[in-house]
Protein backbone atom coordinates (compact mmCIF):
# COMPACT_ATOMS: atom_id res chain seq x y z
CA UNK A 1 0.00 0.00 0.00
CA UNK A 2 1.43 3.38 -0.97
CA UNK A 3 1.24 6.41 1.29
CA UNK A 4 -1.70 8.02 -0.50
CA UNK A 5 -3.80 4.89 -0.39
CA UNK A 6 -5.72 4.40 2.79
CA UNK A 7 -8.60 2.24 3.88
CA UNK A 8 -11.93 3.70 4.95
CA UNK A 9 -11.35 2.18 8.39
CA UNK A 10 -8.11 4.13 8.89
CA UNK A 11 -10.00 7.30 7.94
CA UNK A 12 -12.62 6.49 10.58
CA UNK A 13 -15.23 5.70 7.93
CA UNK A 14 -17.29 2.58 7.41
CA UNK A 15 -19.22 1.40 4.40
CA UNK A 16 -22.76 0.26 5.18
CA UNK A 17 -22.98 -3.41 4.25
CA UNK A 18 -26.61 -3.00 3.24
CA UNK A 19 -27.00 0.27 1.32
CA UNK A 20 -23.32 1.04 0.60
CA UNK A 21 -23.43 4.45 2.26
CA UNK A 22 -20.10 5.70 3.59
CA UNK A 23 -20.37 7.23 7.04
CA UNK A 24 -18.24 8.10 10.02
CA UNK A 25 -18.00 5.79 13.00
CA UNK A 26 -18.84 8.14 15.87
CA UNK A 27 -18.43 6.08 19.02
CA UNK A 28 -16.13 3.14 19.47
CA UNK A 29 -17.97 1.85 22.52
CA UNK A 30 -21.58 1.78 21.28
CA UNK A 31 -23.20 0.45 18.14
CA UNK A 32 -23.27 2.81 15.17
CA UNK A 33 -26.15 3.00 12.70
CA UNK A 34 -26.25 3.92 9.04
CA UNK A 35 -28.04 7.27 8.72
CA UNK A 36 -29.49 6.31 5.36
CA UNK A 37 -30.91 2.83 5.89
CA UNK A 38 -30.78 2.48 9.68
CA UNK A 39 -28.86 -0.80 9.77
CA UNK A 40 -25.95 -1.29 12.13
CA UNK A 41 -22.58 -0.35 10.69
CA UNK A 42 -19.08 -1.30 11.78
CA UNK A 43 -15.61 -1.18 10.26
CA UNK A 44 -15.75 -4.92 9.61
CA UNK A 45 -18.59 -7.43 9.82
CA UNK A 46 -19.05 -8.25 13.49
CA UNK A 47 -17.16 -11.35 14.66
CA UNK A 48 -16.74 -12.35 11.03
CA UNK A 49 -13.92 -14.81 11.67
CA UNK A 50 -15.57 -16.66 14.59
CA UNK A 51 -18.98 -16.80 12.93
CA UNK A 52 -17.61 -18.05 9.62
CA UNK A 53 -15.62 -20.75 11.44
CA UNK A 54 -18.74 -21.84 13.32
CA UNK A 55 -20.76 -22.08 10.11
CA UNK A 56 -18.15 -24.04 8.15
CA UNK A 57 -17.59 -26.47 11.04
CA UNK A 58 -21.36 -27.06 11.18
CA UNK A 59 -21.44 -27.51 7.40
CA UNK A 60 -18.52 -29.95 7.51
CA UNK A 61 -20.35 -32.03 10.14
CA UNK A 62 -23.50 -32.15 7.97
CA UNK A 63 -21.41 -33.08 4.94
CA UNK A 64 -20.86 -36.61 6.30
CA UNK A 65 -24.51 -37.73 6.62
CA UNK A 66 -25.29 -35.77 3.44
CA UNK A 67 -22.96 -38.06 1.51
CA UNK A 68 -23.37 -41.29 3.45
CA UNK A 69 -27.15 -41.40 3.83
CA UNK A 70 -29.40 -42.12 0.86
CA UNK A 71 -31.05 -39.05 -0.65
CA UNK A 72 -33.69 -40.87 -2.69
CA UNK A 73 -35.53 -44.17 -2.81
CA UNK A 74 -36.78 -45.44 -6.15
CA UNK A 75 -39.37 -48.19 -6.39
CA UNK A 76 -40.27 -50.06 -9.56
CA UNK A 77 -42.11 -53.33 -10.18
CA UNK A 78 -38.76 -55.11 -10.07
CA UNK A 79 -37.74 -53.80 -6.67
CA UNK A 80 -36.59 -50.83 -4.64
CA UNK A 81 -33.22 -49.12 -4.35
CA UNK A 82 -31.84 -46.29 -2.27
CA UNK A 83 -29.25 -43.94 -3.71
CA UNK A 84 -26.73 -41.61 -2.15
CA UNK A 85 -25.58 -38.47 -3.95
CA UNK A 86 -22.57 -40.29 -5.42
CA UNK A 87 -24.88 -43.19 -6.35
CA UNK A 88 -27.04 -40.75 -8.32
CA UNK A 89 -23.98 -39.46 -10.17
CA UNK A 90 -22.95 -43.01 -11.06
CA UNK A 91 -26.45 -43.82 -12.30
CA UNK A 92 -26.40 -40.72 -14.52
CA UNK A 93 -23.00 -41.76 -15.85
CA UNK A 94 -24.16 -45.31 -16.56
CA UNK A 95 -27.26 -44.06 -18.35
CA UNK A 96 -24.91 -42.46 -20.87
CA UNK A 97 -25.08 -38.78 -19.95
CA UNK A 98 -21.55 -38.35 -18.64
CA UNK A 99 -21.67 -34.58 -19.06
CA UNK A 100 -24.67 -34.24 -16.75
CA UNK A 101 -23.03 -36.69 -14.35
CA UNK A 102 -20.01 -34.39 -14.30
CA UNK A 103 -22.18 -31.30 -13.68
CA UNK A 104 -23.94 -32.97 -10.74
CA UNK A 105 -20.61 -34.25 -9.38
CA UNK A 106 -19.15 -30.74 -9.51
CA UNK A 107 -22.24 -29.06 -8.06
CA UNK A 108 -22.97 -31.58 -5.29
CA UNK A 109 -19.56 -32.82 -4.21
CA UNK A 110 -16.79 -30.54 -5.43
CA UNK A 111 -18.46 -27.14 -4.87
CA UNK A 112 -19.47 -27.74 -1.21
CA UNK A 113 -16.09 -29.27 -0.40
CA UNK A 114 -14.20 -26.58 -2.31
CA UNK A 115 -16.19 -23.85 -0.57
CA UNK A 116 -15.37 -25.22 2.87
CA UNK A 117 -11.68 -25.57 2.08
CA UNK A 118 -11.46 -22.14 0.43
CA UNK A 119 -13.16 -20.37 3.32
CA UNK A 120 -10.97 -22.24 5.83
CA UNK A 121 -7.88 -21.18 3.86
CA UNK A 122 -9.07 -17.54 3.80
CA UNK A 123 -9.79 -17.62 7.54
CA UNK A 124 -6.37 -19.07 8.38
CA UNK A 125 -4.45 -16.57 6.23
CA UNK A 126 -6.51 -13.66 7.61
CA UNK A 127 -5.89 -14.76 11.18
CA UNK A 128 -2.15 -14.91 10.45
CA UNK A 129 -2.31 -11.37 9.10
CA UNK A 130 -0.87 -12.51 5.80
CA UNK A 131 -0.48 -9.80 3.18
CA UNK A 132 0.67 -12.06 0.39
CA UNK A 133 -1.33 -13.09 -2.68
CA UNK A 134 -4.17 -10.70 -1.87
CA UNK A 135 -5.34 -10.62 -5.49
CA UNK A 136 -5.59 -14.41 -5.61
CA UNK A 137 -7.42 -14.55 -2.30
CA UNK A 138 -10.02 -11.94 -3.25
CA UNK A 139 -10.62 -13.82 -6.51
CA UNK A 140 -11.05 -17.04 -4.56
CA UNK A 141 -13.60 -15.33 -2.30
CA UNK A 142 -15.56 -13.94 -5.26
CA UNK A 143 -15.60 -17.39 -6.83
CA UNK A 144 -16.91 -18.93 -3.59
CA UNK A 145 -19.60 -16.25 -3.38
CA UNK A 146 -20.63 -16.59 -7.01
CA UNK A 147 -20.61 -20.36 -7.32
CA UNK A 148 -22.24 -21.26 -3.98
CA UNK A 149 -25.84 -21.23 -5.19
CA UNK A 150 -25.12 -23.97 -7.75
CA UNK A 151 -24.72 -26.58 -5.03
CA UNK A 152 -28.53 -26.36 -4.64
CA UNK A 153 -28.68 -28.33 -7.90
CA UNK A 154 -29.21 -31.79 -6.42
CA UNK A 155 -31.97 -30.54 -4.11
CA UNK A 156 -33.92 -29.38 -7.17
CA UNK A 157 -33.13 -32.59 -9.08
CA UNK A 158 -34.59 -34.73 -6.30
CA UNK A 159 -37.58 -32.42 -5.76
CA UNK A 160 -38.63 -32.71 -9.40
CA UNK A 161 -37.88 -36.41 -9.79
CA UNK A 162 -40.00 -37.07 -6.71
CA UNK A 163 -42.76 -34.78 -7.98
CA UNK A 164 -42.97 -36.61 -11.30
CA UNK A 165 -42.18 -40.24 -10.63
CA UNK A 166 -45.28 -41.23 -8.71
CA UNK A 167 -47.22 -43.70 -10.84
CA UNK A 168 -47.84 -46.37 -8.26
CA UNK A 169 -47.35 -49.28 -8.36
CA UNK A 170 -45.35 -48.98 -11.60
CA UNK A 171 -42.79 -46.55 -10.28
CA UNK A 172 -42.30 -44.22 -7.35
CA UNK A 173 -39.53 -42.04 -5.95
CA UNK A 174 -39.29 -40.72 -2.42
CA UNK A 175 -36.86 -38.32 -0.75
CA UNK A 176 -34.69 -39.75 2.03
CA UNK A 177 -32.98 -38.17 5.06
CA UNK A 178 -29.68 -37.50 3.26
CA UNK A 179 -31.27 -34.65 1.31
CA UNK A 180 -32.07 -32.81 4.55
CA UNK A 181 -28.39 -32.83 5.55
CA UNK A 182 -27.37 -31.89 2.04
CA UNK A 183 -29.77 -28.91 2.08
CA UNK A 184 -28.28 -27.92 5.44
CA UNK A 185 -24.76 -27.97 3.93
CA UNK A 186 -25.93 -25.70 1.10
CA UNK A 187 -27.58 -23.18 3.44
CA UNK A 188 -24.70 -23.17 5.95
CA UNK A 189 -22.04 -22.61 3.27
CA UNK A 190 -24.04 -19.79 1.68
CA UNK A 191 -24.36 -18.11 5.10
CA UNK A 192 -20.65 -18.72 5.75
CA UNK A 193 -19.67 -16.91 2.54
CA UNK A 194 -21.94 -13.99 3.50
CA UNK A 195 -20.55 -13.79 7.04
CA UNK A 196 -16.90 -13.66 6.02
CA UNK A 197 -15.60 -10.13 5.41
CA UNK A 198 -13.33 -9.91 2.32
CA UNK A 199 -11.91 -6.61 3.57
CA UNK A 200 -10.05 -8.61 6.23
CA UNK A 201 -7.81 -9.96 3.47
CA UNK A 202 -6.33 -6.50 2.94
CA UNK A 203 -5.97 -5.51 6.58
CA UNK A 204 -2.47 -5.34 7.98
CA UNK A 205 -1.76 -6.79 11.46
CA UNK A 206 -2.03 -3.30 12.98
CA UNK A 207 -5.62 -3.02 11.74
CA UNK A 208 -6.73 -5.95 13.88
CA UNK A 209 -6.57 -3.94 17.10
CA UNK A 210 -8.39 -1.04 15.45
CA UNK A 211 -11.37 -3.08 14.28
CA UNK A 212 -11.75 -4.80 17.63
CA UNK A 213 -12.45 -1.33 19.07
Amino acid sequence: MSVRETSAMRAGLALCGHCRMLSRIVTATEANYCPRCGREIAYRRRDAIQRTWALIVAAAICLLPANLLPVMKSTTLVGASEDTIIGGVILLYLSGSWHLALIVLVASVMIPLGKLMSLAYLLVTVRRGSTRSNQERIRLYRLVEFIGRWSMLDVFVIAFVVALVRIKPLMAAQPRAGILFFAAVVILTIFAAQTFDPRLIWDSPGDATRRNE
Partner: protein, 217 residues
Protein backbone atom coordinates in the same frame (compact mmCIF):
# COMPACT_ATOMS: atom_id res chain seq x y z
CA UNK B 1 -23.24 8.88 -3.57
CA UNK B 2 -23.06 12.42 -4.80
CA UNK B 3 -19.72 13.13 -3.18
CA UNK B 4 -18.12 10.45 -5.34
CA UNK B 5 -15.94 9.40 -2.48
CA UNK B 6 -16.25 5.67 -2.27
CA UNK B 7 -14.89 2.81 -0.26
CA UNK B 8 -14.49 -0.51 -2.03
CA UNK B 9 -16.82 -3.13 -0.49
CA UNK B 10 -14.22 -5.86 -1.14
CA UNK B 11 -11.01 -4.20 0.07
CA UNK B 12 -12.07 -1.00 1.89
CA UNK B 13 -9.77 1.23 -0.16
CA UNK B 14 -10.94 4.83 0.01
CA UNK B 15 -10.95 6.47 -3.39
CA UNK B 16 -12.43 9.34 -5.35
CA UNK B 17 -14.39 8.38 -8.40
CA UNK B 18 -14.86 11.14 -10.98
CA UNK B 19 -18.24 11.77 -12.58
CA UNK B 20 -18.54 9.02 -15.16
CA UNK B 21 -19.22 9.59 -18.85
CA UNK B 22 -22.23 7.66 -20.21
CA UNK B 23 -21.88 3.87 -20.08
CA UNK B 24 -18.47 4.07 -18.40
CA UNK B 25 -17.57 1.97 -15.39
CA UNK B 26 -15.16 2.54 -12.55
CA UNK B 27 -13.22 -0.27 -10.90
CA UNK B 28 -11.38 -0.35 -7.62
CA UNK B 29 -7.73 0.60 -8.08
CA UNK B 30 -6.55 -2.06 -5.69
CA UNK B 31 -8.75 -5.13 -6.13
CA UNK B 32 -10.53 -4.46 -9.41
CA UNK B 33 -14.07 -4.68 -8.11
CA UNK B 34 -16.72 -2.76 -10.04
CA UNK B 35 -17.47 0.36 -8.00
CA UNK B 36 -19.73 2.47 -10.18
CA UNK B 37 -21.33 2.30 -13.57
CA UNK B 38 -23.23 4.89 -15.55
CA UNK B 39 -26.36 3.59 -17.19
CA UNK B 40 -28.63 6.12 -18.84
CA UNK B 41 -32.28 5.67 -17.78
CA UNK B 42 -31.30 2.49 -15.94
CA UNK B 43 -34.31 2.30 -13.64
CA UNK B 44 -36.86 2.97 -16.39
CA UNK B 45 -35.55 -0.08 -18.22
CA UNK B 46 -35.45 -2.05 -14.98
CA UNK B 47 -39.14 -1.22 -14.37
CA UNK B 48 -40.17 -2.42 -17.83
CA UNK B 49 -38.16 -5.61 -17.37
CA UNK B 50 -39.59 -6.21 -13.89
CA UNK B 51 -43.18 -5.88 -15.13
CA UNK B 52 -42.36 -8.33 -17.92
CA UNK B 53 -40.80 -10.67 -15.36
CA UNK B 54 -43.95 -10.50 -13.21
CA UNK B 55 -46.13 -11.64 -16.12
CA UNK B 56 -43.72 -14.42 -17.08
CA UNK B 57 -43.44 -15.47 -13.43
CA UNK B 58 -47.20 -16.03 -13.25
CA UNK B 59 -47.13 -18.10 -16.44
CA UNK B 60 -44.16 -20.14 -15.19
CA UNK B 61 -46.01 -20.99 -11.99
CA UNK B 62 -49.52 -21.59 -13.33
CA UNK B 63 -48.66 -23.94 -16.18
CA UNK B 64 -47.08 -27.37 -15.69
CA UNK B 65 -43.31 -27.52 -16.09
CA UNK B 66 -43.33 -31.01 -17.45
CA UNK B 67 -45.31 -34.19 -17.49
CA UNK B 68 -44.61 -37.87 -17.60
CA UNK B 69 -46.61 -40.51 -19.37
CA UNK B 70 -46.29 -44.23 -18.98
CA UNK B 71 -48.70 -47.07 -19.79
CA UNK B 72 -51.48 -44.60 -20.57
CA UNK B 73 -51.15 -42.77 -17.29
CA UNK B 74 -49.97 -39.19 -16.90
CA UNK B 75 -48.50 -37.12 -14.10
CA UNK B 76 -47.40 -33.51 -14.34
CA UNK B 77 -45.93 -30.95 -11.98
CA UNK B 78 -45.72 -27.20 -11.58
CA UNK B 79 -42.78 -25.48 -9.86
CA UNK B 80 -44.62 -25.40 -6.54
CA UNK B 81 -45.49 -29.07 -7.04
CA UNK B 82 -41.80 -29.90 -6.62
CA UNK B 83 -41.88 -28.43 -3.11
CA UNK B 84 -45.38 -29.69 -2.28
CA UNK B 85 -44.71 -33.39 -2.94
CA UNK B 86 -41.47 -33.10 -0.97
CA UNK B 87 -43.51 -31.66 1.93
CA UNK B 88 -46.04 -34.48 1.73
CA UNK B 89 -43.24 -37.04 1.74
CA UNK B 90 -42.15 -35.69 5.11
CA UNK B 91 -39.04 -33.71 4.05
CA UNK B 92 -40.47 -30.40 5.25
CA UNK B 93 -37.21 -28.46 5.73
CA UNK B 94 -36.03 -29.33 2.25
CA UNK B 95 -39.49 -28.59 0.83
CA UNK B 96 -39.41 -25.15 2.44
CA UNK B 97 -35.97 -24.46 0.98
CA UNK B 98 -37.14 -25.47 -2.50
CA UNK B 99 -40.24 -23.27 -2.15
CA UNK B 100 -38.14 -20.29 -1.04
CA UNK B 101 -35.49 -20.57 -3.76
CA UNK B 102 -37.84 -21.50 -6.61
CA UNK B 103 -41.00 -19.48 -5.90
CA UNK B 104 -41.05 -17.19 -2.86
CA UNK B 105 -37.70 -15.41 -3.34
CA UNK B 106 -38.17 -14.77 -7.10
CA UNK B 107 -41.72 -13.50 -6.43
CA UNK B 108 -40.49 -11.24 -3.63
CA UNK B 109 -37.61 -9.95 -5.75
CA UNK B 110 -39.83 -9.05 -8.70
CA UNK B 111 -42.64 -7.64 -6.56
CA UNK B 112 -40.41 -5.55 -4.30
CA UNK B 113 -38.43 -4.24 -7.26
CA UNK B 114 -41.63 -3.06 -8.98
CA UNK B 115 -42.93 -1.37 -5.80
CA UNK B 116 -39.59 0.35 -5.15
CA UNK B 117 -39.29 1.59 -8.74
CA UNK B 118 -42.90 2.80 -8.95
CA UNK B 119 -43.01 4.60 -5.61
CA UNK B 120 -39.65 6.30 -6.20
CA UNK B 121 -41.02 7.56 -9.53
CA UNK B 122 -44.19 8.96 -8.06
CA UNK B 123 -42.99 10.46 -4.81
CA UNK B 124 -39.95 12.65 -4.34
CA UNK B 125 -38.38 12.19 -2.00
CA UNK B 126 -39.58 8.62 -1.67
CA UNK B 127 -40.55 7.66 1.91
CA UNK B 128 -37.93 5.83 4.00
CA UNK B 129 -39.81 2.51 3.77
CA UNK B 130 -38.85 2.37 0.10
CA UNK B 131 -35.24 2.03 1.24
CA UNK B 132 -36.28 -0.78 3.57
CA UNK B 133 -38.02 -2.62 0.73
CA UNK B 134 -34.95 -2.09 -1.45
CA UNK B 135 -32.82 -3.94 1.12
CA UNK B 136 -35.36 -6.77 1.25
CA UNK B 137 -35.32 -7.08 -2.54
CA UNK B 138 -31.52 -7.47 -2.45
CA UNK B 139 -31.88 -10.32 0.06
CA UNK B 140 -34.60 -11.94 -2.06
CA UNK B 141 -32.30 -11.74 -5.09
CA UNK B 142 -29.64 -13.79 -3.29
CA UNK B 143 -32.08 -16.61 -2.60
CA UNK B 144 -33.86 -16.56 -5.96
CA UNK B 145 -32.37 -19.50 -7.86
CA UNK B 146 -34.44 -19.90 -11.00
CA UNK B 147 -31.35 -20.69 -13.09
CA UNK B 148 -30.15 -23.42 -10.72
CA UNK B 149 -33.68 -24.85 -10.67
CA UNK B 150 -33.72 -24.94 -14.49
CA UNK B 151 -30.52 -27.00 -14.59
CA UNK B 152 -31.97 -29.23 -11.87
CA UNK B 153 -35.09 -29.82 -13.98
CA UNK B 154 -32.89 -30.73 -16.94
CA UNK B 155 -30.98 -33.32 -14.91
CA UNK B 156 -34.29 -34.66 -13.52
CA UNK B 157 -35.59 -35.04 -17.08
CA UNK B 158 -32.57 -37.08 -18.13
CA UNK B 159 -32.93 -39.30 -15.05
CA UNK B 160 -36.60 -39.93 -15.87
CA UNK B 161 -36.25 -40.25 -19.64
CA UNK B 162 -35.26 -43.91 -19.34
CA UNK B 163 -38.41 -44.78 -17.39
CA UNK B 164 -41.11 -42.97 -19.28
CA UNK B 165 -42.02 -40.47 -21.97
CA UNK B 166 -41.42 -36.93 -20.82
CA UNK B 167 -43.62 -34.05 -21.99
CA UNK B 168 -42.18 -30.55 -21.73
CA UNK B 169 -44.79 -28.02 -20.59
CA UNK B 170 -45.46 -24.29 -21.09
CA UNK B 171 -44.09 -23.63 -17.59
CA UNK B 172 -40.64 -24.69 -18.76
CA UNK B 173 -40.48 -22.10 -21.55
CA UNK B 174 -41.82 -19.42 -19.22
CA UNK B 175 -39.12 -20.35 -16.68
CA UNK B 176 -36.47 -19.92 -19.38
CA UNK B 177 -37.80 -16.43 -20.15
CA UNK B 178 -37.97 -15.65 -16.42
CA UNK B 179 -34.27 -16.45 -15.95
CA UNK B 180 -33.40 -14.14 -18.83
CA UNK B 181 -35.55 -11.28 -17.47
CA UNK B 182 -34.29 -11.61 -13.87
CA UNK B 183 -30.70 -11.48 -15.14
CA UNK B 184 -31.48 -8.37 -17.19
CA UNK B 185 -33.15 -6.62 -14.24
CA UNK B 186 -29.98 -7.17 -12.23
CA UNK B 187 -27.91 -5.66 -15.06
CA UNK B 188 -30.02 -2.51 -15.34
CA UNK B 189 -31.27 -1.91 -11.81
CA UNK B 190 -29.45 0.99 -10.15
CA UNK B 191 -30.01 0.97 -6.36
CA UNK B 192 -27.87 4.08 -5.86
CA UNK B 193 -30.30 6.01 -8.07
CA UNK B 194 -33.15 4.94 -5.76
CA UNK B 195 -31.24 5.85 -2.60
CA UNK B 196 -30.47 9.29 -4.02
CA UNK B 197 -34.18 10.13 -4.02
CA UNK B 198 -35.23 8.30 -0.85
CA UNK B 199 -35.58 9.86 2.61
CA UNK B 200 -33.03 8.70 5.15
CA UNK B 201 -34.15 6.99 8.32
CA UNK B 202 -31.55 8.81 10.45
CA UNK B 203 -31.33 12.42 11.60
CA UNK B 204 -28.61 13.10 9.02
CA UNK B 205 -31.39 13.44 6.47
CA UNK B 206 -31.57 17.17 7.22
CA UNK B 207 -27.85 17.72 6.70
CA UNK B 208 -26.06 17.86 3.36
CA UNK B 209 -25.01 14.50 1.96
CA UNK B 210 -21.52 15.87 1.52
CA UNK B 211 -20.83 15.85 5.23
CA UNK B 212 -20.24 12.26 6.30
CA UNK B 213 -19.36 13.30 9.84
CA UNK B 214 -23.02 13.75 10.69
CA UNK B 215 -23.57 10.03 10.19
CA UNK B 216 -24.21 7.58 13.00
CA UNK B 217 -26.68 7.81 15.83
Amino acid sequence: MSLNRLACPDCDLLQNVPRLPPRARARCRRCGRLLAIDRPRANERALALAIGAAIVFVLANVFPLMGLSVAGREVDTTIMGGAWIMWQEGQRMTAALVAVCAVIAPAAYIGLTIVVLLVSRWRRPAPAWVGELLLWSATAREWAMAEVMMLGILVALVKIADLATVIVGVGMFATGALILLITMIAVHFDPEGIWARTQWVGPAETTPVRDPRRGGS
